[in-house]
Symmetry: C2
Subunit: 394 residues, 2 copies
């Protein structure tokens, strides 16, 4: 689904009711997941990147009651913001919030665009100097519309940066053996540096078996347990970091959000987003807590966070009252909720109630236009990294 | 070091001062670690097991102010305890605490003995029915006294349960290649089902390189990143779970401590204990937080825990005031502190100030006699599991 520029618009509902209404509509649409901890497969799965100079103005995660507006980053559209400082009193903040309190918008679309440009420039240089062109193979089984859209977007993104695309589309009733055969061919193909099997697979296939068949050197999704193990261990380095959580952390980096020593709460513990996001935050010396479907007091724990990464697939689950003033919010959820006013009949909302949260947080990703575009950018980055490693390039 | 039966004795110091004095003495002895997050290599590394009927009386992790004495488990020595119930008022608890408030002692020595007996019985049966005898190989490099003691204890424990011991002792100045050669031989030896390289290795050796050489099927320590990755991922199963954290969870199981939905705080994030312990707790649906050397407010976070696993190598770091009344404490630390009254000139204390904590917690492991003996028992268990898997036995 193509990402549209995001604008914060005022709803005809009072903000609190609006989130509640959206959640209610979502339930009516029967899209609710029974265990939101494993729902992140709905997130699109994409590519990699390398850090460069930071275009955003620096700002720190702030404790409650100490906020100050700052200059917007030059990568983001000019949004008035509510950010950290040590020298403001609670009363002045309250006054600000009542007038025009609005979190900085973490513009994933703009950051992803910048990263794609950086990757494109690096690939062009690599090609001219060494002749090497990174290649990414995608295997799609079945005819799910959302999967087809993701694959099309990935292909388009590859073309933009100069990565060669390989694609195999198999019918829904294909045998597992057929998928394994294609994986094996891509494993052996020296022009392919990344292999991606679009999830979910048809129910008659063993996902674990198929994912394990992807060569660890070409596992640009970073889902191989060996990569996850290396991610978890101090002193070890994974070959690839899973794209969506990598994108989350990259947004924090690009917006100069301090992670070290901060309280970070990850909402959701999926293999694809929540768990690796927590491991990444811990690698950067955050103090992490992981909230999931069995957590008895999510609100109480989330309220302690300086940084929140929400990845549960529950529309508007995290409310404004659950957020510590000044917290930074990365919202991974992309949930369709019914919307009669939209031409499509639905709109997309995150796991965090944006209208409420943007009045309390110091910075927040919009949905869409936040983490979504970053996932694709990270997939491109991982593919470039893989090509450089395989060809032993600096 | 042989484990002695543990008795809670009153110190000549007031309890608070006693912990402070121990910590001071420890600092004087210059044994302090600069970053306590990586200190758990001081913990002995041992073996595996399988759950059976639980001999301990059931009790729940309790919220503050709701405590009640309960019957002691038949595996533990009769210790008066302070445990969970829903129907006691704060005043009655206060009264109890002022008279003889004392946490249940989680008797690792007794539990480990029981597990060894279970393992011994299973091995005897296996041998008589199939002729298979589990084998464990230990490689020791250098002449560290503590390492030699650990290896001796492991060998002794193996003999007790009927596991065949293989041992290689190499001089401090051995080449890495020499160690790798022995690992390779044990990898190929069908009578060896578990291989253990005693850590720490001499500084000229690459620990990661050497540990990676151990066949994943014989990695009874569970330190291979593939095992850690599988431990981290939902829906995946590790071949082996690292022994010390496995022992911690086993103690909770044997004492019927409810884990699901509880707040668990792991203090320390080492690859050997803290990190895998957190992953294990999360697999059992606890809500985990990980406190480490960069955490700014450890006291505040630890105070929220229903279950605390402390593995940092800092004597008496966690004080009584840091503990929520009724919490369950698993103390992995084994820290020598100077003690002029001891014949050896030192005594061992945990990472938790026992005198203080035992007045607040509902249950606590002593040091020594808590987690230590469990680690060896878990190593034996992992070796048995490995033999059964390799020989395809039920």
């Amino acid at each position: 689904m193509p990402q549209q520029p995001h604008r914060v618009t005022l709803s005809p509902f009072p903000w609190r009711q609006n989130c509640a209404a959206a959640a209610r509509l979502h339930r009516m649409a029967s899209m609710r997941l029974t265990d939101w901890s494993s729902s992140s497969t709905t997130t699109s799965r994409l590519l990699p990147f390398s850090r460069t100079s930071n275009p955003a103005r620096s700002y720190a995660v702030c404790p409650a009651r100490r906020l100050l507006p700052m200059l917007p980053p030059n990568i983001a559209s000019p949004v008035r913001l509510l950010t950290a400082r040590r020298d403001f009193s609670a009363s002045s903040v309250k006054a600000m919030m009542s007038v025009e309190a609005c979190a900085k918008v973490i513009d994933g679309k703009a950051v992803a665009k910048k990263i794609r440009e950086e990757i494109g420039a690096e690939i062009a240089r690599m090609k001219s100097e060494t002749g090497v062109v990174p290649g990414l193979a995608v295997i799609l089984v079945g005819d799910r519309k959302d999967s087809a859209t993701y694959v099309r977007n990935k292909k388009k993104a590859c073309e933009t940066v100069g990565i060669k695309s390989f694609e195999v589309c198999l019918p829904e009733d294909s045998a597992e053996q057929e998928v394994l055969k294609h994986i094996s061919e891509f494993n052996d193909d020296p022009s392919v540096h990344g292999i991606l099997v679009q999830l979910p697979l048809p129910s008659h296939m063993n996902e674990q078996h198929i994912l394990n068949a992807v060569s660890i050197e070409k596992d640009v999704d970073g889902f191989h347990p060996l990569n996850i193990g290396r991610l978890a261990m101090r002193g070890r380095e994974p070959l690839f970091v899973p794209c969506t959580p990598k994108g989350c952390i990259e947004l924090l980096h690009r917006y100069n959000v301090e992670i070290k020593g901060k309280r970070a709460v990850v909402v959701g513990r999926s293999n694809i987003v929540g768990m690796p996001a927590a491991l990444l935050l811990q690698r950067e010396d955050a103090t992490i807590s992981i909230v999931h479907s069995r957590t008895r007091n999510p609100e109480e724990i989330i309220k302690q966070a300086d940084i929140i990464i929400a990845a549960v697939g529950q529309p508007n689950m995290v409310r404004g009252t659950w957020i510590r003033p000044g917290a930074v919010i990365i919202d991974v959820g992309i949930n369709p909720v019914e919307d009669a006013k939209s031409p499509k009949g639905y709109r997309l909302v995150g796991d965090v109630c944006y209208e409420e949260a943007s009045k309390v947080a110091s910075a927040i990703t919009p949905v869409p236009g936040g983490v979504g575009p970053m996932t694709i950018a990270m997939l491109l980055s991982n593919t470039l990294t893989s090509a450089k490693r395989i060809h032993n390039l600096p």
